[in-house]
């Protein structure tokens, strides 16, 4: 018996060993593409540049919504988006601030990786591709310098002061100005104008603004989203797609500008403009005011109104938008409402739309309530400056720009200083910068009083007036 058993075992063993290939369970299936595999593909630079452009969209998503909440533009009335910024509570522990820094770092590092590793691996790399990567890298510097007083601008590096970072932005934008793509070249010039504007370098800013205007007089450079494959536009989700979940509520005096982004179909997303030529004119006008040249400023401001008037508007149904369903009657919600910009200011009509009766028409690039007649009537530099800042606010609404105009700078995130040996909790840049004249009213930035029966809404504070009143502060209005 035992002999038979042994024979069976032996036979079984032989059969098994010869058939092992047929039943081999150790085949390795790795669905990932390693760095080495990617760099060995033909012309990896093209998809790499596309990837950095996609990263630009992610970077826009990472800051626009919560910075709009932080400003007087929008109030967050639900749970979904950042609550701290609404009262300008700016802490290193804030996940959105950390996320913003992460996407900025990733945009810069991806551009750098393209300019070094991918370029070395791909002989087909073109000068335009290099210029485009430099443009994205410069944009990362630009936002870093605009929104942080100190921030590391290399992986795990020391925190650099914002002026130096903006200087790096200028230098890097210059490398992108050579692009044969007019959009990128003009946007790079505008980027230089903006960086110099923030630095208070009036002459350089004006020069770059003029350069941008001459290259592309109708420039709009968008961060593009992909409605079908992602990333989708977070601000579009917040303002429109979340339907009756009314997260973000606009300051009533800018109701007519909301929502800048809306659902355009399954394959088309609303893009976010990150550079548009209006900004160049706004810089020129502000430079003229700071030079006490009112007539020149008025002339530029008239050009802006005309330019804005020529920009695209969209008409769509927005009747699922309530103001607001959690507390009906608490916010202006019809065109009969008149708005005061501050207590005692004149009542202005036509700023609030009817959303429950038919379609609404909303500017999707730039809009303003300021008319040519309003500009003609200006005869005081400070009034002109206030009107200019109102235009700035209205033109840039929902683009994440306002907080920088209010002189506010965020902080280095806790994760950065915990994981970066060059920075610790007490390092410069770990406390926020909030101008005292904003800090004193930070809980009331979005506040207003509304008499629904009388149809009168009074905004508590005219922030533009407050900024002008404090124009000599080094934190705001850099040309003054």
């Amino acid at each position: 018996m035992k002999k038979t058993a042994l024979t069976y075992l032996l036979l079984g063993g032989i059969l098994m060993s010869s058939g092992c290939d047929l039943v081999d369970p150790t085949e390795v299936t790795n669905p990932n593409l390693t760095e080495e595999a990617i760099l060995n593909t033909n012309n990896p630079m093209t998809p790499w540049v596309a990837g950095v452009k996609r990263q630009l969209a992610l970077t826009v998503n990472a800051h626009v919504t919560f910075l709009e909440i932080g400003s007087d533009n929008y109030e967050n009335v639900q749970t979904f988006y950042n609550q701290n910024l609404d009262n300008l509570t700016i802490r290193p522990q804030d996940a959105d601030i950390n996320g913003f820094q992460f996407q900025l770092g990733r945009l810069r590092e991806m551009a750098d990786y393209g300019l070094t590793v991918v370029k070395n691996a791909d002989p087909l790399t073109t000068a335009d591709q290099e210029a485009e990567l430099n443009f994205y890298k410069a944009y990362s510097y630009l936002l870093s310098g605009e929104y942080f007083s100190f921030l590391p601008v290399t992986a795990g590096g020391e925190a650099v002061e914002w002026r130096s970072i903006l200087g790096m932005a200028v230098e890097t934008f210059r490398l992108a100005e050579s692009s044969s793509n007019t959009q990128i070249s003009a946007a790079a010039s505008l980027g230089i104008a903006r960086a110099n504007y923030r630095l208070g370098n009036k002459a350089e800013a004006v020069q770059a603004a003029n350069s941008a205007i001459s290259k592309a007089p109708n420039l709009v450079y968008y961060a593009q989203f992909d409605q079908a494959q992602g990333p989708v536009n977070t601000m579009q989700t917040a303002l429109y797609d979340r339907g009756n979940f009314d997260d973000l509520q606009v300051l009533p005096r800018m109701d007519f500008l909301d929502p800048k982004y809306y659902f355009r179909g399954a394959s088309q997303a609303s893009p976010v403009a990150i550079f548009k030529i209006e900004e160049a004119h706004l810089i020129l006008a502000e430079a003229a005011i700071s030079d006490s040249n009112l007539n020149s400023a008025k002339s530029v401001m008239t050009d802006i109104v005309n330019l804005v008037g020529s920009r695209e508007r969209s008409t769509f149904n927005n009747n699922q938008q309530d103001r607001t369903q959690l507390n009906p009657g608490s916010r202006p919600n019809n065109s009969d409402v008149q708005v005061r910009f501050s207590p005692g200011a004149p009542l202005i009509e036509g700023l609030v739309l009817d959303r429950k009766s038919g379609n609404v028409t909303v500017p999707t690039i730039s809009g303003t309530s300021v008319s040519v007649a309003d500009i003609d009537a200006l005869n005081d530099l400070d009034d002109a400056l206030e009107t200019l800042y109102l235009m700035r606010q209205e033109i840039f609404i929902a683009e994440g720009r306002r907080l920088a105009d209010m002189g506010i700078k965020l902080v280095i995130s806790e994760v950065e200083y915990l994981a970066n040996p060059n920075i610790d909790a007490g390092s410069p840049g770990t406390s926020p910068v909030i101008p005292p004249f904003i800090d004193s009213i930070k809980d009331e930035l979005d506040a207003f009083d509304y008499d629904a029966a009388a149809g009168i809404c009074t905004i508590r504070h005219n922030i533009n007036r407050i900024l002008v009143e404090n124009k000599t502060s080094e934190l705001v209005l850099p040309f003054h």
Binding site: G51, T79, R106, P152
Partner: protein, 938 residues
């Protein structure tokens, strides 16, 4: 009716009974312990399929073919007896105890079963008697409150959803706490959280545990971790659940039929508004039909069971149909080879509704006030209007899931001699699941989410996952006695290959009315693939001295194809010592059996592991479609030094029996240290790189496991048994290697995080410090607010038998942990919070986070089962036994929080991640279920 039944029974038995020129032999089977007769004992004519089992009084009656027949009497725990028939017509038999067989055998580790007395580790077991008292629907429900040292929390009352199963606390931040699961020696899919890809329908996440075929289970073993799991390989550190299914017992065919009918009723215990129940709950019919047959002879046995189950759920929008079949056979090929095979198939289909973190969750919307307002202030007409709108919305909601699963095990047992045996085993688990969510424009308009007249917002989301697992194992055992020493050697090799293929399609701008993604304007497709083989070799030596003192040494060596030589082979050792003091003569003389009946001391040390996610060490570039072209981005940053995390467990314990084991205690203290713990901690954001799994953590779990069993009353008619357990878990992240903390669940304002000095998944958020007038004096940002891991938990049961009447009740509890009342956060927004002081309404809710963290203490009675064995005089001889039963599931709940502390709408983690749960958010609790059962055996 009785005739029909009889006819059916005759038909079923005709294949196995011989009606030839035979004669009837009758008799009574007794033993010293059961002089009144042994019921259920098998009597078989040797070498044939003819046989029967004894009745309640131990009597049998059997047709035998002739006088040369030999009757074989067998029963678990008794020595098998063979009696020649000769010319006798009455054969009474007195059986004797088989002392060795009476020793509880566990399969622990690999290979042959081992007597419990030889082991230095503990294993919880659940036998058929206990399982039969639970309405068998899904595995986690069976285990809940029935395993003394394990905790099972079901995350949602919706069908097929995930549960949290844990025993000694979470040992890893990289995986969940669910043990690995074997069915008849074959590894099965134990994914108990969202898959890598899956549909977002709020909080309810599908679980592979919910559809493990649970038909025909003979017993379940729960190995809790530590040294006991060492031999199971590199991913068994969370423990092992072994399920053994029936392969039949010798004897004439026995047919069992069971029908269960009852009703599911939504539990209102946790509701904020009573009106929510009126609007959304409705009782649903639950019905189940089960047919089983088993039998065989001394060479071949078989068992089959099939079950059809259907329930309508306890609320609108839910429902589930299950079809389960399982068969098992065992055949003696020859004197030294036995072949056995089991196969199970389950098909589950269910519908769900949105819940938890979704603005489409109608249950959540009702309970959180914002959407529909304060329901208590609404009049009848307003409530009716809301009711109609919501029910219409649910009607238009179309979330379905279908799971089909086949498990199979093939086993050859070789018995070369009394001392040497071997086993070869292979089997598969094939599970395919398909989730679909069809959102029509009509549904969105009904929700008020898009304007009237919208035609371009319809979507279909589709998710398919195919999981295939192949297990193969060969092992051998050798038992040898040399003088006062006994040796048990087990060695072998094992591999299991898991292939996980997932695909998700999101189709948008779908033409109204379409159920096919073909009719979509845009489609977005993502897939996921993982195919990896784990293989290992194990050797275990158990040495006995004078059959009282046992020492164990074991080693498992493991490899993984995803890492190959980069990680190489991993070694997991174990050692243990067991001493059965009460078996010593000197002890027995000092303490007679009626005083201290059992004392056993145990101590062991073992290492178990957990491999990183496959290919987590590679530096990866990801490719995405962006604006109709490929685009590259940084993927996994890569770590060439990545290796498995290792958990070393030391445990000491004792088993104590008093008064002839009428009172039994099992006490264990354990300390488990996970080194090189895999943390997915972030890099500084300036690196711009995603998180990378790194071996930088250290996690400690320590605590006590105490189980007790009391035989309160034991007479001929009465048997009253009470069990209780108390377990402690002290969990702490000892080190995070200097890395910042990271999120593993929850929300931005209040999340579940991993941080040095805190328990895994601790709740982090801002803590407001209030003065006596409830004004905020200070806000502590990112404070430690609590832990989802309750540091104390346990279960209890009561079993009362009086003649044929039986009452069985189980319950469990936890104490000392926390949960987050997320529902109230949303109520706060609507000005209806019952947690936040009135003067703080309108403030920044981020700063109020700490106030929503509440005690998660609960005590829940899970199951009360009453059954009655109807005496035979009521139904005659055609039927062997008949019983009726009544069950109430989830009847009584005691809890402190403003939510059900067991459910969690967020924080369950996904595949290859840790989740602690603990976010009570718009999630329905398990329903109260009333069931009537009729069981008939032929």
């Amino acid at each position: 009716m009785r005739r029909v039944l009889l006819g059916f029974v005759l038909l079923m038995m005709s294949s196995s009974l011989v009606w030839a020129q035979s004669r009837t032999v009758t008799g009574k089977v007794t033993s010293k312990e059961d002089p009144a007769g042994i019921p259920g004992l098998s009597v078989v004519v040797k070498g044939t399929t003819q046989g029967t089992v004894t009745d309640l009084d131990g009597n049998y009656s059997l047709l035998v073919p002739g006088s040369d027949a030999v009757l074989v009497f067998s029963f678990v725990g008794l020595r098998t007896k063979e009696v020649p028939v000769e010319n006798k017509t009455v054969i009474n038999v007195v059986m004797e105890s088989d002392v060795k067989a009476l020793e509880e055998i566990v399969i622990t580790g690999q290979g042959a079963g081992v007597e419990k007395r030889r082991l230095s580790t503990t294993v919880d077991q659940m036998g058929e008697d206990k399982i039969s008292k639970m309405p068998v629907v899904q595995l986690d429900q069976i285990l809940r409150a029935n395993m003394p040292n394990a905790q099972v929390r079901l995350g949602s009352g919706q069908p097929g959803t995930a549960s949290l199963i844990r025993s000694r606390g979470p040992i890893s931040a990289a995986v969940g706490t669910t043990p690995v699961i074997y069915v008849d020696g074959v590894r099965v899919d134990n994914l108990n959280s969202a898959a890598q890809l899956s549909l977002g329908t709020g909080g309810a996440q599908s679980s592979a545990i919910a559809d493990i075929p649970v038909e025909n289970i003979e017993s379940i073993e729960y190995v809790k971790g530590g040294a006991a799991t060492t031999l199971y390989g590199a991913d068994a550190a969370n423990g092992v659940i072994q399920i053994f299914t029936k392969k039949g017992t010798a004897g004439a065919a026995r047919v069992n039929f069971e029908t269960q009918i009852g009703s599911q009723v939504g539990t209102e215990d946790y509701l904020f508004f009573k009106e929510t129940a009126d609007i959304i709950f409705r009782p649903g019919l639950q019905q189940s039909y089960r047919l089983g047959v088993d039998g065989g002879n001394d060479k071949f046995t078989y068992s089959f069971s099939g079950n059809l189950y259907d329930d309508e759920g306890y609320r609108y929008g839910l429902g589930q149909t299950r079809r389960n079949f399982r068969g098992g056979i065992s055949a003696k090929v020859n004197d030294w080879i036995t072949y056995s095979s089991t196969a199970g198939f389950s098909s589950n289909e269910f519908t769900r509704d949105y819940n938890a973190n979704s603005s489409f969750s109608e249950f959540g919307n009702l309970e959180t006030v914002g959407r529909w307002g304060d329901l208590t202030t609404l009049n009848r007409n307003e409530l009716d209007s809301i009711t109609q709108r919501i029910r219409r919305t649910i009607e238009l909601t179309n979330i379905t899931e279908r799971v089909r699963r086949f498990t199979n095990s093939q086993q050859f047992d070789f018995k070369f001699s009394e001392k040497v045996s071997a086993r070869a085993l292979f089997g598969i688990d094939a599970r395919s699941t398909r989730q679909q969510d069809i959102t029509t424009n009509a549904q969105l308009i009904q929700r008020g989410f898009v304007p009237e007249g919208t035609t371009d917002r319809g979507t279909i989301d589709l998710f398919e996952r195919n999981f295939f697992s192949l297990t193969g194992q060969i092992d051998a055992s050798w038992e040898e006695n040399v003088g006062k020493f006994s040796f048990l050697t087990i060695g072998g090799g094992q591999f299991f290959r898991n292939q996980d293929e997932q695909i998700q399609i999101n189709a948008s701008e779908v033409t109204e009315g379409s159920i096919s993604i073909n009719n979509a304007g845009e489609k977005n497709v993502t897939d996921f693939l993982s195919a990896v083989t784990n293989y290992g070799f194990f050797l275990k030596e158990n040495i006995g001295f004078r059959d009282k003192l046992f020492a164990e040494v074991g080693l498992r060596v493991d490899g993984n194809t995803a890492f190959g030589n980069e990680i190489g082979l991993q070694f997991f050792p174990s050692v243990g010592l067991a001493y059965n003091l009460s078996d010593e003569d000197f002890f027995r003389k000092a303490f007679p059996n009626y005083s201290v009946s059992t004392i056993k001391f145990r101590a062991n040390y073992g290492v178990a592991g957990n491999f990183p996610r496959p290919f987590a060490n590679d530096r990866i570039i990801n490719s995405n479609t962006y604006l109709n072209a490929p685009s590259f981005t940084f993927g996994n940053p890569g770590d060439p030094t990545l290796k498995p995390e290792r958990t070393s467990t030391t445990e000491v314990g004792a088993d104590l029996g008093l008064f002839s084991d009428r009172i039994k205690f099992q006490v264990t203290y354990y300390q488990a240290l996970t080194e090189d713990a895999l943390f997915s901690a972030p890099f500084a954001p300036s690196f711009g790189q995603g998180n990378q799994l790194r071996n930088i953590g250290e996690i400690e779990n320590k605590g006590w496991e105490i189980g007790a069993n009391f035989v309160v009353l034991e007479t001929n008619d009465w048997n009253v048994n009470v069990t209780a357990s108390y377990n402690t878990v002290q969990n702490e992240v000892l080190s995070s290697g200097g890395a910042p903390e990271f999120n593993v669940g929850g929300f931005q304002f209040l999340g579940s995080f991993i941080k040095e000095g805190q328990p895994l998944g601790y709740f982090r958020g801002n803590r407001p410090i209030l003065d006596e007038n409830n004004n905020i004096t200070e806000v502590i940002p990112n404070a430690a607010l609590g832990s989802p891991i309750a540091p104390r938990f346990g279960s209890m049961s009561l079993n009362v038998n009086y003649k044929g009447l039986s009452l069985f009740a189980t319950g469990d509890y936890q104490h000392g942990g926390q949960t987050v009342a997320v529902d109230d956060v949303l109520r706060y927004f609507a000005g209806a919070s019952t947690v936040i002081p009135e003067n703080l309404v309108g403030g920044n809710f981020f700063d109020l986070a700490g106030l929503w963290v509440q005690s998660s203490d609960y005590l829940k009675i899970r199951n009360i089962a009453l059954s009655y064995k109807i005496p035979s005089q009521f139904y005659g001889k055609a039927i062997q036994s008949m019983s009726i039963g009544f069950n109430v599931l989830n009847p009584i709940n005691f809890f402190k929080a403003d939510v059900d502390p067991e459910v969690s709408g967020a924080g369950f983690g996904t595949q290859n991640s840790f989740g602690g749960g603990g976010f009570g958010f718009g999630t329905e609790s398990l329903p109260r279920t009333y069931l009537g059962t009729l069981r008939i055996s032929f």
